[in-house]
Amino acid sequence: MIHYYLVLLLFALLGVVISAVLALIPGLHVYNVIGFAFLAYLAFFPWLDDLMFAMLLVGMLTGFALLFTITTVYLSAPDDSTMFMVMPGQKYLLQGRGHESVLLTGIGSLVGIFFLVVVLTMLQHQIRVIREVTQDHWFWIIGAVIVYILMSEFPKDFGRSKTTLGKLRDAWKTLAAGYLTFLLSSILGMIIFYKTTMPIDRTFQSLMPPLVGMFAVPNLLINIISDMEIPKQHVCKSVDVTPEEVFRGGGSGCLGGIFGAFMPAVTAGVAGLISGHATAQKGDKPFIISMGASRMVYYVGAVMLFFLPGLHLRRGAIGIFINLFFVPETAEQYYLLAAAVAVSGAVAFILLLLISRSIVKILDRVSFQKMSIAVLFVIILIVFAMGGPMAVLTMSVGAAIGTIPIVFHSRRSNCLAVILVPIFLNMAGIGPQIAAWMGLM
């Protein structure tokens, strides 16, 4: 039996190694890769033990949750879960502290792993109860997240206008841009949910083009247009962070991550933002740590909630994919999963440090603008390969929407209406009517 366990852990580690390569390709989301891995599994490895393949996917997911930090910080190509990290991440990069930013995110991810393996495991009973109590209420909780996003943004710049109307106009510019972003994202989301632009055999990738367009492309365009150059990066041997900052950032991130993993439609970025507000977070370091923790708990927590005995909550593509070929049944499998997450996380953290150091050396030699052009080219190529010209077109629409908040300094979280609104409307039972009204059905 022990050999079997070790083989399972080896598969998880193999997943980490695969993710170490794939996470460096900007724009490629782990769920895209897992989708294709699943197709490959059915076609070429049907003889493989189901749990072994599940562990491979879990290893990939854990590795990806940590290693995607590299593309976010160094290449400014975030996804929906790392979008808020770009600002502080790029600030650190411009101060020659990109590696430190990566380290802080890694520390946050380790806190997230500790939370998943120890705290979540201890709270199994409570989570089952919370699920049972709240499951009839998820639709309005998602509605509450939407309302909060819309109501909590305040004007950031005070105009110099002398008249009341002029002041209001200056102040409401950013708010109006935010609402426009929200509206356009909602419409795009409805179109994607009801009339997918992807080929029929790749509909599971439907969200990829708009998300890449909204979160990765605008940053790259700004990098290219602004001809930004980054200073020589300092590879620090230690990181200046207090236990209080780790506790506050990590705790807030774990809260946000588990909220996102538990609730449908709520992704790590927005969940992290909300938990940051709930715990009155302040400062760049706790923020970066919280984003690392939130992302780890969001992605890997989704699998753990699926494996949790008596719960089997399917959240995110990972739970859905695994559920296609494997149904967790025993507590033993849950504890094996927890062990695999712990080991994969530790190995991924070491890989993160090594890869970050190597990337810093490359960054010192290559122009940041040229690298941004190359990354943009790779992203377009991947999207085209996934879904053809329609996917590229959808990505372009997403990019146009995602550029609005950057230009007008409004919140990027408004873009998440692309996921939140269609799911909320469907769960509230009015999605089909609105889709019909929009001519989508």
Binding site: W140, S152, K156, R160, L168, A171, R248, H277, A278, G429
Partner: protein
């Protein structure tokens, strides 16, 4: 408290209405969201509307390339004296100094009421996260300015006011008896943070749900969630004008917590979350957590069982979490002296200056992310 805390508290208040919870489960009603909306509305009104309705007699907008601290101090002193001589309210707005996309020049103003003078100091460049950049302070002779004023003033807030990121603060100088009362950010917590204003919003409940029990419930949710915000804010440093048009002045807060206080916000959110969870369980058509144990004590009534169950939840899930956390945080604060230079201030900042920064944050009371 933070906007989210008010929002969560509003929703929690909404879950205290059995009809609203039942409506959410059986009719997919969104009535509970009214609690969140009206829970956060007072701050939304202040920072999206009331702030821009203020008229300022003085606008201080320093030249980024030639900042004159004496000019800033003089203008403020003049504004105070104008209020003193004319007997009318005078308002002054301080604008921030934006240097680049993420850099701002910090300056701070002190109202020295004992020596009757305004002191202005130009500080370092700070990021939007309020982190100062080292060695960016101007030379001492260009960084300091002061100007005397004649009026007797009553200034009840911290001595120093910082002007650094986004929009700057404003003051109102109000003649009051033999002195000038100084109101910090006078637009905040006036009519919007009162117990009387939500009565104006109550008809929205009837408009949305009709002249029936549901409409009545929605109106009460609007009223109580708004009141929840106003009352929760009384725990801070600054109170509010509670009963306009009968009262005119803002009260002082209880000073129990600040809006950006992590412990205060977390405790409130955790407690609200626990209460909301109990409410949606108890008032739902199908209860998951039974309260049969209550009957062992001879309690059979609907509401007595509710309260005993809620108390039970506190005993098992609220007190064991919050009490140790409170003790640990207090011990931590007792034995951990903040190092100079923390909290985004120059290393030379005094404890008083730090308190002032905290004050400003507590006054702002909203998130900027």
């Amino acid at each position: 408290m933070k906007g989210l805390t008010h929002f969560v508290m509003g929703i929690t208040i909404a879950t205290c209405f059995p009809l609203a919870v039942k409506g959410a489960v059986t009719e997919s009603s969104l009535i509970l969201l009214l609690g969140g909306i009206f829970g956060i509305l007072p701050d939304t009104l202040d920072f999206r509307l009331a702030k821009y309705l203020e008229k300022h007699d003085y606008d201080i907008d320093p030249d980024p390339h030639n900042i004159d601290p004496t000019m800033i101090a003089r203008r403020m002193a003049e504004a105070i004296d104008e209020a003193w001589h004319t007997g009318r309210k005078v308002q002054i707005q301080f604008h921030t100094i934006k240097m680049s996309a993420d850099l701002w020049r910090q300056y701070k103003i002190m109202i020295d009421q004992d020596n009757k003078r305004i002191v202005c100091k130009i500080g370092p460049l700070v990021t939007t996260g309020k982190s100062p950049l080292p060695e960016t302070e101007p030379p001492e002779d260009k960084a300091h300015g002061e100007w005397p004023f004649k009026a007797n003033v009553l200034h009840t807030y911290d001595k120093w006011t910082y002007v650094d990121i986004f929009s700057g603060p404003d003051f109102a100088f109000v003649p009051e008896g033999d002195h000038i009362r100084i109101d910090f950010i006078p637009f905040h917590r006036k009519w919007t943070h009162s117990l009387t204003v939500p009565f104006l919003f109550m008809p929205i409940g009837f408009l949305l749900y009709g002249w029936n029990e549901m409409g009545y419930t929605a109106s009460l949710i609007i009223l109580f969630s708004y009141w929840g915000h106003v009352l929760l804010d009384q725990t801070g440093m600054m109170g509010s004008n509670l009963l306009p048009p009968f009262t005119k002045k803002r009260t002082k807060g209880l000073g129990l917590a600040r809006s950006n206080d992590a412990i205060g916000n977390f405790f409130t959110n955790y407690m609200c979350g626990a209460i909301a969870l109990w409410n949606i369980n108890y008032f739902s058509p199908h209860q998951v957590l039974g309260s049969d144990f209550v009957r062992w004590f001879g309690i059979t009534g609907y509401w007595p069982a509710y309260f005993v169950g809620l108390a039970n939840l506190f005993v098992y899930y609220v007190i064991p979490v919050l009490v140790p956390l409170y003790i640990i945080s207090k011990l931590y604060m007792k034995y951990h002296q903040p190092e100079e230079g923390e909290e985004g201030l120059p290393e030379t900042a005094t404890k008083e200056e730090r308190a002032a920064l905290e004050m400003i944050k507590s006054m702002e009371g909203y998130e900027s992310t």
